[in-house]
């Protein structure tokens, strides 16, 4: 089945140790998004790619970077995770901005 896949589902890292979260999609959608969701809060958009065009939200910390090597894959790199970066990270895709976003199951990041 076509879907959005996130690996790993649970990631534990140490304070300051770089970590990469991955997302892949079989939907062939143009747009891929990364959201951060903290406990009992709404998802917060970090950045998105429309094809190869990257758009960073103004309040996304420089600590967060993203790569999209091809249509199917998108990565979230956290260069120096802090305790405040512990959260659920959600990847989503859509055919365009005015279309339904399909979300992956998320990666739960723990920072020790």
């Amino acid at each position: 089945d076509a879907m959005v896949i996130q690996n790993p589902r649970y990631q534990v890292t140490q304070f300051g140790k770089p970590v990469t979260l991955s997302c892949s999609q079989t939907l062939n959608h143009n747009v891929m998004y990364w959201y951060q969701q903290k406990s009992s809060q709404a998802p917060k958009l970090l950045f998105h790619y429309y094809d190869k065009d990257f758009n960073n939200e103004a309040d996304t910390p420089d600590n967060f970077q993203s790569r999209r090597p091809n249509t199917s894959f998108c990565f979230l790199d956290i260069r120096s995770p802090g305790l405040g970066d512990a959260a659920m990270y959600l990847c989503a895709t859509s055919t365009g901005f005015y279309n339904e976003q399909f979300f992956g199951p998320g990666t739960r990041l723990t920072v020790l």
């Binding site: 959005v4 996130q6 998004y33 009992s40 809060q41 709404a42 998802p43 917060k44 958009l45 998105h48 959600l90 989503a92 901005f97 005015y98 339904e100 976003q101 399909f102 979300f103 992956g104 199951p105 998320g106 739960r108």
Partner: protein, 112 residues
């Protein structure tokens, strides 16, 4: 600034009753609205959407109502079931930015 908010953080209903979850938005330029359901430990799941040229849309057991005059959106769930227990987010697409803005979320608890 733009904001999408929900009136009640928690809604508790009896199994079999109808549920109504409300949402207020402030950006009159928003032209597309989505309701998502998020179960614990999972990513948001699309329920139903509505474009601003409509005031009502029905799905299976769900109905979304849009009142642009008062900037109000509601999700009605008929014959609520235990499997409907989750957090429900409304979200709007801003025609200014093309981005999805999530409301704070309402927890729906279904009592057997």
């Amino acid at each position: 600034g733009e904001s999408v908010g929900l009136h009640l953080p928690t809604l508790s209903v009896q199994e079999g009753d109808n549920s109504i979850i409300n949402c207020a938005y402030s950006n009159s330029a928003s032209d597309y609205f989505i309701w998502y359901k998020q179960e614990s430990g999972k990513g948001p799941q699309f329920i139903i959407d509505i474009r601003s040229n409509m005031d009502k849309r029905q799905g299976q057991r769900v109905t979304v109502l849009l009142n642009k005059t008062v900037k109000h959106l509601s999700l009605q769930i008929a014959a609520t079931q235990p499997g409907d227990s989750a957090v429900y987010f409304c979200a709007e697409h801003s025609s200014n930015t093309g981005k999805l803005i999530f409301g704070q979320g309402t927890t729906l608890q279904v009592k057997p």
